[in-house]
């Protein structure tokens, strides 16, 4: 009797371990449109409404917990922000006159750039978030039915959040900019030097702007924004000028300069986001497909970055 119990217990364990390994192997072996991926998408479709309902019902609980944490950080943030307000006010005055000149020049040379206004923003609520440090993804309650497509850029009031990685009919999974699979073409505000923003290896909450020319100047506190180019054909074409983060320090160990960037978006506390969708035939869609169709290896001068400038259409 005892032997039988032991045998059964061990058999169950062995069966479950083998089943897990089989799932893992099959999942890695198949294409993104394979059967197991399809099961995941179907599951997402089924549970999205449930998650959405649960999210709305549990929002007060989440807000209550969030309130304690936010209150603790509020004082330090307020002092820091007061300093920034003074600095930004001075910069704003200077920038306003520069902006006027810039628009005059654009009009003079008939140049036009793709901007956020060329996209149709779809507002969505974050309903789920991955709990572990290895997956930086969130699930939102808008999907194909709302016009959301794979690779659509996702932003919120603060800046760039990520891009759509998986779409179901009523929901989608968004890879955050701190996800290990992400790479966003970006530039530093004043230097106008471009590079690629990737998650900082081993530091899941921070970013690294890499492949900057060694001559580019970067100082802590400067802002990093999207450049409006793509890093690879399957990448998202983020409109230029979306705020990504702020430079915290500069590394000059190799031929290329890299800077540490802290995201401006509080990725731990996402509530409402906007997916920038491009309807078929619109200018944003055309530029995106043009970017995706460019052959690999066309470089804009910064290593690894493939040029698909959004200014090319104008």
């Amino acid at each position: 009797m005892y032997d039988k119990t032991v045998r059964r217990r061990r058999a169950v364990l062995a069966l479950l371990v083998v089943l897990s390994l089989l799932l893992l192997t099959a999942y890695f072996g198949e294409a993104p449109d394979g059967r197991l991926h399809a099961v995941q998408r179907d599951f997402l479709t089924v549970v999205s409404p449930v998650q959405n309902g649960a999210n709305k019902a549990l929002k007060p609980v989440r807000d209550l917990f969030g309130w304690f944490g936010e209150t603790l950080h509020a004082k330090g943030q307020r002092d820091e922000l007061l300093k920034q307000v003074g600095k930004l006010r001075r910069e704003l005055v200077a920038d306003q006159s520069e902006k006027r000149t810039y628009h005059e020049l654009l009009g003079m040379f008939h140049l036009d750039q793709l901007s956020v206004s060329d996209y149709r923003p779809v507002t969505a609520t974050v309903v789920d978030k991955s709990p572990n440090i290895w997956y930086s993804t969130v699930t939102i309650d808008a999907g194909e039915a709302a016009g959301v497509r794979d690779n659509d850029p996702v932003i919120n009031g603060e800046g760039l959040v990520g891009k759509v990685a998986e779409v179901a009919s009523d929901g989608a999974v968004v890879d955050l900019i701190t996800d290990s699979t992400m790479g966003v073409s970006a530039r530093i505000g004043k230097a106008n030097a471009t590079g690629i923003v990737q998650p900082k290896v081993g530091e899941p909450n921070d970013l690294l702007l890499q492949y900057l020319p060694s001559t580019a100047s970067a100082v802590p506190g400067e802002y990093v924004v999207t450049s409006g180019t793509v890093a690879s054909p399957d990448d998202s074409l983020y409109p230029p000028g979306i705020l990504i983060g702020q430079v915290t320090s500069v590394n000059e160990e190799s031929a290329y300069k890299s800077v540490n960037v802290h995201p401006v978006v509080n990725l731990h506390n996402l509530d409402v986001v906007q997916v920038l969708t491009a309807g078929a035939g619109t200018r944003a869609a055309n530029v995106s497909s043009l970017a995706a169709s460019l052959p690999a290896g066309q470089s804009s001068g910064t290593a690894g970055e493939q040029l698909a400038s959004t200014a090319a259409e104008g």
Partner: protein, 192 residues
Amino acid sequence: MTGSGISGSLLARVAALAVVVVFFQIGVVSEVPVFGVNVDLSPLLVAFIGLLCGSTLGAVTGFAVGLLVDLALVQELGVTSLIFTLIGYWSGRLRELRDPQAALTPLLVGAAAAAASLIGYSLMEFMLGVDAPVSLELLRQIVLGIVVDTIAAVPMWLIVRHSLEGALPEDPRRRRRRRAYTTGGLSPLSRS
């Protein structure tokens, strides 16, 4: 009641608890960082079910909860299932071999489950080729994760035990121990 003392009522309660905790985890708890990390209730749930119900149900629950997490979060299928299966089995074996009764047991089991989950995840991701060498920040995140999960272990233990109370399988060793304490006849001291 099944042959192993696991009743249908227990299975239903475990299933309901697993679904509620997983959705509460990904819908609420994951969005509220504590000391910069997220509390992960899922490994605690699996460990405590193993500790209360034994290794077989612990392993099965671990597999099911892992699969649910991977499906709901569109992660690589099988990774979480494998880790949680081992956590559930290990905590069940702890009960079957040692039957720990100390008040600190849930805390220690919770800490061990959190450590196994976080370190196991990291090892799996390294083996699967994620480009992330060990750094101080990563180690800090893992240690902080274990600390906050350990803090969450006590309320989680109370919730799991309260939810399953009345449907738990009879434990022959506990029965023997209770009898030994309450009847003088079986005590070696009273015999001498």
